[in-house]
Every structure is written in C-alpha cells, then in structure tokens.
Subunit: 412 residues, 2 copies
C-alpha cells in the first residue's frame, strides 16, 4: 500500500497571505498547489464511477529504503540557504525528539518510513506505537516543492503592484508531531514548525522572494495539574522572550484561538504557542526563533511525563481520557488546517492521520453525567466562570493568573 | 448543559435544489437557514475573544419533560397534510424501531431527550448505551421550521421565472439512526428518512409549494458474510421494487457513491440505498415509499444481528472492528453532510454526534500489516480486483453478482 500513499504532514499555505477566511483559504487553494509531475491519486478499477478527488492533488510519493542527507533539489547550492538550514534544523529536531522519547519510554522504538517525490522533496515519518509510556507518538518531517497561483503571490507581496506574474514555484518544509501517552494523567503534546518560501519570479527583475515561518507547541491533558501547565507555558514564554517580548502573549492567544472546537464551545487543550505567516522580522532571527521553539519541546514536555507516567489510575480515569481523545479527533478532522488540507489534497494519509490517538470514545450526553458546570476542567476549556457547588472545586477567577486561566487539580 | 444545546440530526437542504456541488452547498447555505426567533449560540463569558460561530445558526432549543403529540405549529389543520402524516410516520417508526431494538438487546433501555424550539418544531433523541447487544444505538426524530433564501427557492422551482420572491419559509422533518453493536461480527446500521417542504409564496398567487423526500438505509460490517449482505440488500430491493423498478439500482449506486471516504479510497460500508431531492413522482407514492423504507429497517437488520450477536471473537477481531469504527468517524466528521452541516450551524451536538461509535481506533499504517492487497474486505470496499495469494481469499470478480460486488466470509 505504501507506494500509493502521498503526504503533506503540515499545513501549507496560510490564511494571512492567501485568503482572509480560514475555510475559504483551503478551498481556494485546491487548484493552487500543483506539482510539476502531477499524478492523480490512483483509484480502483471502478474509480470512474466514484466522486473524483479534488482537482488539486499532490504528487505521488516513492518509498525509499533510507533517508537521504537532504530532500533539497539543489543541495550543493542550497545548504547555506535558509531553506537548507531549516531542513537541517527539522531533521536534527526529529532525531533529538525521537531519541529523547525513546529513552523516556524505555521500551518502544520508532519505526521509520521514508519517501521522496519525483519532482523533488520527500519526507520521513517516525512512529512509536504501543510503547511503555506512549501509546502513539509520531514525529514527521517533510519537504515539498510546489507551485502557487499568481493571485496568492500578489496577495503575499507587500508592494502589490499591477504586474501579473505567472504561477510561482514554492518550497515548504516542516516538522510535525503528536504524542499520546497511555497514562490518563500524562498529557498529549503537539508541535509543528514550518518554513515556506517562493522562488523569486524570473519575469520580474528584482522582485523579492517571499517567505514566512509558522508553528507552535501545545499541551492537551485530560486532567489538569496547575504546576504542569505553568511549567509548560513558562518554557514557551522563555523561548519567546529571548526574541521579542510581544511574541509570547501574541502567540499564546493565537494558540487559544486556533485550537478551538467551535461546535463544543471548548478548546482542544490548554494551549501553548501558535504563530503563522511570520515574516515581519529579520529572517535570521526567525530561523533562530523556530529553532529555539523546536528545541524547547522536550524540556517543556518530558518533565511532565516523568512526573505523571506512573500515576495509578482507574477505569473511570481511562474513560475520561478516551472522551478527551474523542475531542482531539473532532478538532483534527473537522477544523485542523493541516489535516483537512492534507486529506483533501491526497497527502500521505498515514502520516497525516498519525496525529489521531490510538483509541477514542464518544458517549452520548456524557457532559451532563460527569462534568458539572463547576468542573474546573470544563471551566478551563470553555473559559466560563464557575461557582462552588457540592463536591466540585471552584474556579474562582479564570483570568486571574498570568496564564489567562487558573488550573486546579481535579480530586480523584 | 442541555439547555444550551441545539439540534438538526439530519441534513437539511440538498444539493440538487440548492447547489450543484456538495461542499459548496453547505457553505452557501450558511446564511440561508435563519429561523424567526434566531438566537446566537450561547458562548462563554469570554466568547468575544473566540472565533465567532458561523453567521448562520439554528434557534436554541428548550428541553421538554415529555414528547408532545406533535411538533407541528398548526396541528389542527396539518394532521392530514403530508407534513403531518410524515411526522406521524417518523414518530411511529421511532417507536417501532426502539421497541424492536430493546427487545433484541434484552437488557439496554433507550434514554429519551425531548426538546422544542420557541419558533416551532422540536425533536426527540433516544439513545441506548452500553446494552447487551449494542454499545450505542441512537434513534432521533426532529421537526424544523426555517427560512430559505429566494435564490435557493428559484433554483428549486421547475418553472424558474423572473419573479423575485422574498425569503421562503420551509418545513423539514426527519428520522435518523445509527446503531453500533458490540460483537465485531454484528454490523452497524444507519438509516435516515426526511421530508422537506417550502410554504407556497404568499406574494405569487398560484405559485406552487415545493417539496422533496430524501433518505436511505445502509450497512457497515467489520467482517463480511455474503448471506448477510445479500439479505440486507434484498430487503431494500423488495421495498424499492414495490414502487418503481428503477429505484433500487439508482438508489443503490447513489448509496455507494455517497458513503465514500475519499482520502482512503474506500467506502464506509457495504451499501444499501440512498436518495435525495426526490420529487419527480406522485407525492403520495413517495410518502408511501419513505414509509415502506423506514418499516424495512428492522426486517433488513435484525435477522443479521440475531445471527451474529453471540459469535465468539478474539481481541484481534475487536481491534479490527475498532479500526473500522475509526473509518466511520472519519467519514462522519469529514464528509457526511448531515453531520458537518449540523456542526457548522450549531445543531444539538449530542444528537448529531450520537452517530459516532462508543469507541474507535487508529493505528499507524495498519493497512500494510493486516490487510493484504488480496483481502476480500479491502477489495469489497475499494472495488479493486484481487488475485489469490497465500492464505488470502480471492475476490474473483467484483462486479459479477447482482449486488455489484461479491462478498466472502473472511476466515478467522
């Protein structure tokens, strides 16, 4: 099967540059990303009777036995470029994260799948499944060469202008990861860092090459331990503060706004940082910033895992974790731009959906049985203010702490 | 929580009448369905900071202690109308199906939630959870009063015309059900029957009232037993053949096309019937047809359950069932019009998502470990032709049988 699988494990173009409205951005982009050696997704013998895949599709990938030193088309001239250095950074980050996770797991091993695309680019998926600590941990990197439509490029250009260029080739590279532990008290983490760059248009002498950075790191616990969440946010804040004091508050809020399950009126988790379309700073500085963020994942996450991975738990705790996993699935399949974009464009399905938990649960009307209006977990996610009632913990003031919300441990 | 929940457990307007392209139809309809007593979905104290819900939203429902005899606004004049008789039909069908399922389960009981909307209409959700045979079975009915935009109405009118009417009030009623059994050899069933009607425009004397029927019944097993699938399809065929010989082949194909998980290149299940926008037949005939279809669910489904519910199974069988449940989740959250429309418009979430299984599973790259290219289950879903290899069963000719595909039992 793997020969017919294709992949974009990260969301490619972003709303600010390409379209003001998120859902529109994705559908508008459908015809945009067409690669030079375009191959429609292989369907079955009877495929002509089936609804066609989106007109926009990503080039079919070829499995490789071994990861090449680089997925760049022109490695000799590109290794010092930002794209070359970004690829090296995400490859290094993948190595370091996988090594740290394997060591912390103490049993599970990452399985690696490598692929390339005939027109250039490729990816490495590493997945640890059914480990001692994690039930599923995926760390993917990929490099994509594509073509974006002139309108999107003009929207991205600061100076606008009346010249109408042809389709613009682009380069994108990213690392993307989700790790779901087994213990209900040990949180899920997600991180994703990506760099996007267009070629300088050949028909417009002196026209600039466009580029931007995006990414983020966020935590999704099933149970809230205030110290864990504060530690996690503090590491993000420290990484941000090394570069710009405005970064942390802006990117923290962006994260809260992005990971929002509209139909539930809930956030997916307890936040972290998220940014996109970032190009209004020095490029070198932003490369260093993305590197710092990627390097902060393990110090932000592993101390929490060490503390919680062996906490005794009951069937009820596991059930609650599974219900929260259901919310994770809902967010990723309904709202997440990277996932929905990947599914619609025929990306490598197994890489895209590695973000889904191993198992999840949906009970009818569960909320009314287990989550009282005063439940601090519910409060933290919905940002509703609660009052104390019965045995429930009160969440006195959600906006009081420096982290926008207060977190309390739910008694077992 | 239930006071803030709202609902449309079925997909309202349909592509033929409102838009030619399915995904477009939903987004185009966002501003369309605005009810007279429109209330934005209640959000939290901090909701102003969050992304707003879609501009189109469904009126907030009020929980009721008891199901009223009818949800019609004008019961005295409507009981003989098609809308009145359709509501009676789905209410009766809900009673009969729930009674039969409870009896077959031999332990689980349906829990009922009733709600109404201030502007008229309402619904009844009945859910049996953690029964003896079924882990989750939901049977919902609802009645919705809304307003559709003039453009949609003109598109629906056979005679077109240049007159520009105002917004058109509509009525919709439907029954919707998904039942997931515990035993991996017992299949999931889904059915849904709905009736949609506009008011006759008051400003155009003699202008017709528009109406149409939609619905279907389909089966999703984790393991294929040819006799089960043939029985299921035969009951659908018999119901269709009483009305029009073209119905079964058309609606069977429509079902196969609709329940298609594009990103997997797989069908959700093994089909049944599906139709929509049906109004080019006598209205009385179609009401009888929808009634016949709804009454055929139990005879199509229960004999299969009786045969499979006590089949011994292993952990591996359960795991495979859970993986197929994951596919069910993928289809419903990514593609199903009723679900995605309901989520986007703020329908009653618990009713909409009752279609999701109690539990589901996603393993990285599972396909390559368990499903060989010659696996008959995989073949049946993907309509790929296979050859015999090793211990796998061959699926000689997918299009050979009268049911378009051949089904074989997978050896355990």
């Amino acid at each position: 099967m793997s020969t017919s699988l294709i992949s974009t494990p990260f969301s490619l173009p972003t709303k600010t540059h390409l379209q003001s409205q998120q859902s529109q951005a994705i559908s508008t982009l459908k015809p945009a990303i067409s690669l030079s050696n375009f191959t429609p997704k292989p369907l079955s013998l009877s495929s002509r009777k089936l609804p066609p895949l989106s007109a926009m599709a990503i080039e079919k990938e070829t499995p490789e036995n071994e990861a090449p030193p680089t997925f760049l088309k022109d490695p000799s001239t590109s290794s010092d470029s930002v794209r070359g250095r970004f690829e090296k950074m995400i490859r290094d980050a993948q190595d370091k994260v996988c090594e740290a996770i394997e060591a912390a797991d103490g049993g599970g091993k990452f399985k690696e799948d490598v692929w390339s695309r005939p027109g250039g680019g490729g990816g490495i998926s590493r997945v640890l499944q059914d480990g001692v600590v994690w039930e599923k941990a995926g760390v993917n990197v990929s490099v994509v060469y594509g073509v974006m439509p002139p309108d999107a490029y003009r929207a991205a250009k600061a100076d606008g202008g009346s010249h109408k260029p042809g389709p613009i080739p682009f380069f994108a590279a990213g690392i993307s990861s989700v790790m779901h532990p087994k213990n209900p008290f040990a949180p899920t983490v997600h991180f994703n860092y990506r760099y996007f760059e267009t070629d300088a248009p050949k028909d417009v002498p002196g026209a600039p090459r466009q580029w931007w950075f995006g990414g983020g790191t966020d935590l999704t616990p099933a149970y809230i331990f205030e110290e864990d969440v504060k530690h996690f946010h503090q590491v993000q804040k420290d990484a941000c503060d090394k570069f710009d004091p405005s970064f942390y508050p802006r990117f923290k809020k962006w994260c809260d706004d992005y990971f929002y399950i509209k139909h539930r009126g809930e956030r997916r988790g307890l936040g972290g940082i998220f940014f996109d379309d970032l190009n209004d700073y020095d490029q070198e500085m932003l490369l260093s910033f993305a590197t710092e963020c990627a390097n902060s994942v393990i110090p932000a996450y592993l101390p929490i895992i060490e503390k919680r991975k062996d906490t005794p738990f009951t069937d009820k705790n596991k059930e609650w974790q599974q219900l929260r996993r259901g919310r994770y699935v809902e967010f990723n399949l309904v709202y997440d731009r990277g996932t929905t974009f990947g599914l619609k464009t025929g990306g490598r399905i197994e890489s895209i959906l590695v973000s889904l938990p191993l198992t999840a649960r949906w009970e009818y009307d569960h909320v009314s049985h287990f989550i009282a209006p005063c439940d601090p977990y519910y409060e933290a996610l919905s940002q509703k203010k609660a009052v104390k009632s019965g045995n429930c913990w009160m969440l006195a003031s959600i906006q009081k702490s420096g982290y926008d919300r207060e977190f309390v441990t739910i008694p077992l």
